[in-house]
Symmetry: D3
């Protein structure tokens, strides 16, 4: 390891994780799931990239440390998913592309540079999966993907709608992402869905506005009443074969399952429920995904980081060819 | 703000929260949900008051810091409840009435002063909702309410029965509240109910005594087996149109959802289950309510404080005229 | 107390917990559930013993502090179980047998001494219930019990299979326990079952190997889909009247319910689910049990310790004569 | 209390803290030191105001929660300072002026509004003492004070120089405050001093630039070698009778004494050293002061909050007439 | 160990700690320093006893868990003190006498029972060293010792004077101990001393009253200015050969060194300073000692518990014959 | 960054840290001080390497996570040291060489592989500075260095002697390192020194044995009495121009300054004292160095990690050519 030769699991042409039989999982430089960095491979199917930006938050900041925290919490991920029968790091080349360099002091410049960096990375990797950072970062990603794919269906896991208009005169914050995206024509208004919504809003108009943007809602309360399978059924019906982007605000989980986040709301999903729904996206036409709003300063014993890393793992599995 | 003019949301005659479009939610003096203090209004429908008293606890103390912790954790509460369509701070005047001054060294004096202060506050506000403090505080509240309403139906959310007789020679502790209340004739023996009970007891006689006091039980195990809707159905059948007091010991939640409490027991409710049941009390004849036993020194990232503040929010919504 | 005379609850010939009406639960030397130590009784039905050993772990260490942490977290346990109607400390003599002295620097010597100590303790107590330590300790316990009972049916609650072959050349670690046990003929291949399994594996072959060892699986996902009662039904069908050992890795719980453990995986059981299944083992022919992998340095407010102590309580109840 | 009549200590015309003989220190709405709010008095000598702004930080954010955290940690402050013989709340009217409402998404707008709010508050209170927020907030305060007092001598307690030029194209951040202040002519180049500086810099030029701005340095290492009295002597010699502003970044303390901050550096001052130097400013011509960079998410058991509140107390004492 | 035979270090007739070469320090039931319990020996020179009582506190409660926390944090203490050349467990019989059973709901009854229990224990052990609990417990100990020794010289390490008169009508709290002791004639007014005093008081009269009680003060500020040796010199001059009781409130330490306490004040002693002064009491005529106000819910990684256990160790060494 | 082109500060031929003007310090993959990895350079003057091994600990484990924790806590280190005028990353090529892969289940195999890996790394880098891991790892490093340099003078910062003989039959643990090293002839008996020693020992013989090994002691108490400069003077006199290895157990710091460690002892050094002494090693003939025993599970807000990273920074500076 110290000689620069990291022992790795290799499957065909794909370079996988650090070989856990040669290096204990707690050893070595932290990359996501101990996967190779982008510079170590010649091509990539899936690139995991961090966007350490949290200047768009309206309450607890700290998601700028999300990427390094989730990487550290992902060391235990193993290469075979028994729930789906997929070996995500063998069937495709997955890499850690490091972090985008983002200006913390200028939101609009940040958004512009994220879009540019995302487009550049998309030329090196077929699919990009992002670790936030706050939810502001999803807007430039959607812009980048829209150029390639046209109107996008978004499955949005969150306690909040994120379709607010503006806040303190700022048009671009973590609460306005999907409003802006809709206004810019990035979204497919027939194929968007919020999952896990709950908690108080500013007014009844929030729901009206949200509907206008084009979102259906499957709320956290409905998980209680109707169950996971119903959520999956509605999600698949809504999305159909549209190009779909999956955006997961970790606060969709209950604070018990994700204390380390910026705008926690009681009454959320369990990690088991969330993983089940993500797993069911495997057949969809996924064009990208993110997990955002992990704020490590509020995490304990990596409860949140582990949940986020498992969610990312299921996303990578969902992207995998069978 | 510093000029003494707090920007506030106003609905008709009702003064609401600090205006979140002018002051970020993390700014300003901590009142419950950033609502006005009692002195800032001319009349109140609902007064939220803290009772920082924990000298009645038998295990982990610290609930004396409950009121300030729950206030701080309530900053994110917003004015519209999409689950019920209620705008609780617009449809009624809700205020933060500060804390009662309670003697920590003399339980009986404390109980007497709480009753007196509760009665005085009841003259200024139609309904009083209390943040504990330990469960001892519910007895003087019931005394005060009984004077006004006669025998009271109690819906009691808790891991524990709180109908024990005495402890170390003390008749008034957080475990004896409902026994004393029953003996004093404060309770309607046909309309009381424990919800969420679980964990070991001292003896089988505890259940016999408890039944004699007049409580039905819907246990935490029954939530697993029968579900939330059954709990709601039984609760409503039990209470009917009686005047009802809702007393929520936060330890009714599983320690995962409420680590910050004094006598935690494994196997409890999720916050989603609890909120659903509270929400269903909306049609009842609620004469008062409390959330007790939040012990902040054992909380992390406000998991418990947030759960408590959402529970209080649903209680306030349940008190709201449509 | 300071005079060496601890006030105790006594039921017939059985010496029970410290009398909570005379000594507050937070007072006195920490024994499990404030039960007497082995030297204080003349015979024992159930001995609780700690095995402070964690040199077999592959990720986060710290389970060596598990026994003292679980003891401290067990102070609130009370003598009557309303869920089953059992008074476990009155119907049988339960004692705290302290900890085995185990060498932290030599796994094989540790395993040998644990087996020897377990056998010696089994001569003093009809049943031994163990607090780990890591899962390595279950192998020598099975060896000891096999000498007495022959092939053993194991109900294994865990996120992981623990039927791996070897790791870093070590045959005996916390991940190889049941593979070794099977190879040594200790297990009844028709009666073993994993409950709560989830998360990624090293390869599909892990499942093949595991099946060969003789385990059926009821996964965490199945809890979501089929429910607790189905888990219980399958467990009882599998075990029937075979001599059964119950081994509970606390990581079977979701990290929200058990952050304090060494190899946490998202998507696990709730403590309510786990307790329900344990409770249902009451009619089985239980020959021993353990709760392992509590790593206190990662626990908060005893969330994990309390869950573990309640699990132990239900195990002791399951061992109780009616 | 709940009746809106808070029991208060009164000295002459000055309204002091909540009367601790009538309300326990943990009770009541959190204001700094349980002092009255601005609206409760007719004039003020000293106004304590929070500026919940942290969008200028370059590393760990979270100081936006500083004001509410320091208020909560200040409840134990008592009215008489035996070290100096001052009764700071009796000899002058001290009030809590709440928080300025600051835009988190636009640094320049934030700076402008802080200056405006500070000027407005300065018309209501002779001296303003600020709780940050990050160090960016000191620039608009200096602008406001300069209008009234002309060039200002600054005693700056910090691990860092805060005289950097720009960062990510941003001229206004928590690291550029005194560079900008100097360029704008706000500082008296003969009377400024850094105290407690330590840790690595970007280059030797940092020191050259810093000297050009007009700062002398008394480093943390010099505290070790020369002692507190020498620091005091140099500070008083430097400042003389100039109008002086005292700006205390809590990271001047060692991380052991102030873990809850954004850019911690090992090898810092003890709280005892810091308090001694602050105490010695009593004879100076203090025109304002702040304590910044308290980031509560990284604090534990209020270690940092208590240190900050004691520092504020000594500042208020230093402002007091004898 | 599980057989009831704990391997112990024995020196002459004195039974010492669990033998660390046979049982790792983290193993076995928690007694102070892994010493034998009272019932295991025939006579005792020094008895360590816990008093889990905190109903006398005026701010953060939780010291009721102090004894079990300090026991757990004392596992690393070893048998030879190189700073003084003493082997405290070999030169004298030291035992853990468990905890006194104290009523949490009635302060006066608690005080009466502590005095009675202390007297009873004093008949079994030459010297009693106590782990609090809050500072209220020192009064009944002084009563008990006064019966045996007459007027007592007290060396009192604390941030606070603890000579207040009454609080909320309560004469007996953790802040009135030495006032009451003086009024009852228990103290030698020529031989008492506070060490480490700091922080704000209620009024200048506090110091006048305190002086009248008979205390000299060596403040925390004087540690900074005059040093440890001067503190020792003044302490020895003050006490001379009087019978002396050493009472250590752990809040004498700075919050950095003792976060886990109830009324923390910035600017305190380091643990190195405190240990040096305690060590210097070795030649005094010590008749008893206590360490109080350890509140574990506010401790982290046992920082406070370890400091307390080392302080207790030095006290036991100071009691040792050479 | 995501394109694999990390923006770096370059000085002559030396590649330095990630350019903080282009990538915020919290962004990017965690390497020590954000320095390049070994594979990114053609030659190295100083290699920082992690040894994630803690199977040699006798109390709290967890130092296996030390390397990743210290890397994460080192992000704020900047390139110029004003205390010594050194630019350590410009004047020499410093790299992060990742972690050695070490077997956690076999101490002797671990020691053998560490020695081999250290020798191999020494061929690629002139000096190797190690992040532990527990203190066991220093033995194989000394073996490797002895082959190159002959008998080695060791400056050993620690609360403990680490010259014990064996423990539980194990010759190689974190407490026996320097005994073994001496027996193997690796040490220069005239040039070794312990700095910061404190706390209880097993017996007076420990000191006799230690002296025989060849160590002088400058204790933590002597820091209080004689000061930092005296420590430095004695250290330099002892070492003179011998080849010297600097081994720093982070527990030399007081638990307030380093809670995150395995065998904490009260009364330790401050981080300011430690940094001062390390800084003074600059003129010595340093052949290698390590910082060991950082156990992140017990750290809070990176207090310990930051102290360790600053100590490493001063070591790297001490290795730098002027």
């Amino acid at each position: 390891m110290s000689q620069g030769k990291t022992p790795r699991v290799v499957a065909g042409e794909n370079i996988g994780q650090v070989d856990a039989t040669k290096m204990p999982r707690y050893g070595g430089i932290s990359t996501f799931a101990l996967l190779p960095q982008l510079a170590e491979v010649t091509q990539a199917d899936v690139a995991i990239v961090g966007i350490p930006f949290d200047s768009g938050v309206s309450y607890r900041p700290g998601a700028r440390f999300g990427p390094s925290h989730v990487r550290e919490a992902s060391r235990l991920l193993r290469p075979y998913n028994p729930a789906t029968g997929v070996s995500p790091f063998a069937s495709q080349q997955v890499v850690d592309a490091g972090d985008f360099a983002v200006n913390p002091f200028n939101i609009e410049e940040a958004i512009a540079s994220i879009e540019k960096d995302h487009r550049a990375l998309s030329e090196k990797a077929k699919r990009v999966v992002t670790i936030g950072g706050d939810h502001t970062i999803t807007l430039p990603i959607l812009r980048s993907l829209h150029k390639q794919h046209g109107p996008i269906s978004v499955i949005h896991f969150d306690a909040h709608l994120d379709t607010w208009d503006s806040y303190f005169g700022a048009d671009y914050t973590h609460g306005t992402t999907f409003r802006r995206a809709s206004e810019e024509g990035l979204l497919d208004g027939e194929g968007c869905m919020h999952i896990g919504i709950r908690g108080p809003l500013y007014s009844a108009k929030d729901l009206v506005d949200d509907k206008a943007v084009g979102f259906q809602i499957f709320s956290s309360i409905e998980f209680q009443e109707l169950g996971v399978q119903e959520a999956i059924k509605k999600m698949i019906a809504r999305v159909s074969n549209r190009p779909v982007y999956i955006s997961i605000d970790i606060d969709v989980l209950d604070p018990a399952h994700a204390p380390g986040t910026g705008t926690p709301e009681a009454g959320g999903l369990t990690s088991r429920e969330l993983l089940a729904v993500i797993r069911a996206t495997a057949g969809l036409n996924i064009i990208g995904a993110d997990v955002v709003e992990v704020a490590p300063a509020y995490d304990f014993a990596q409860i949140t980081g582990i949940a986020a890393s498992h969610v990312l793992y299921e996303l990578i599995c969902a992207l995998s060819p069978k």
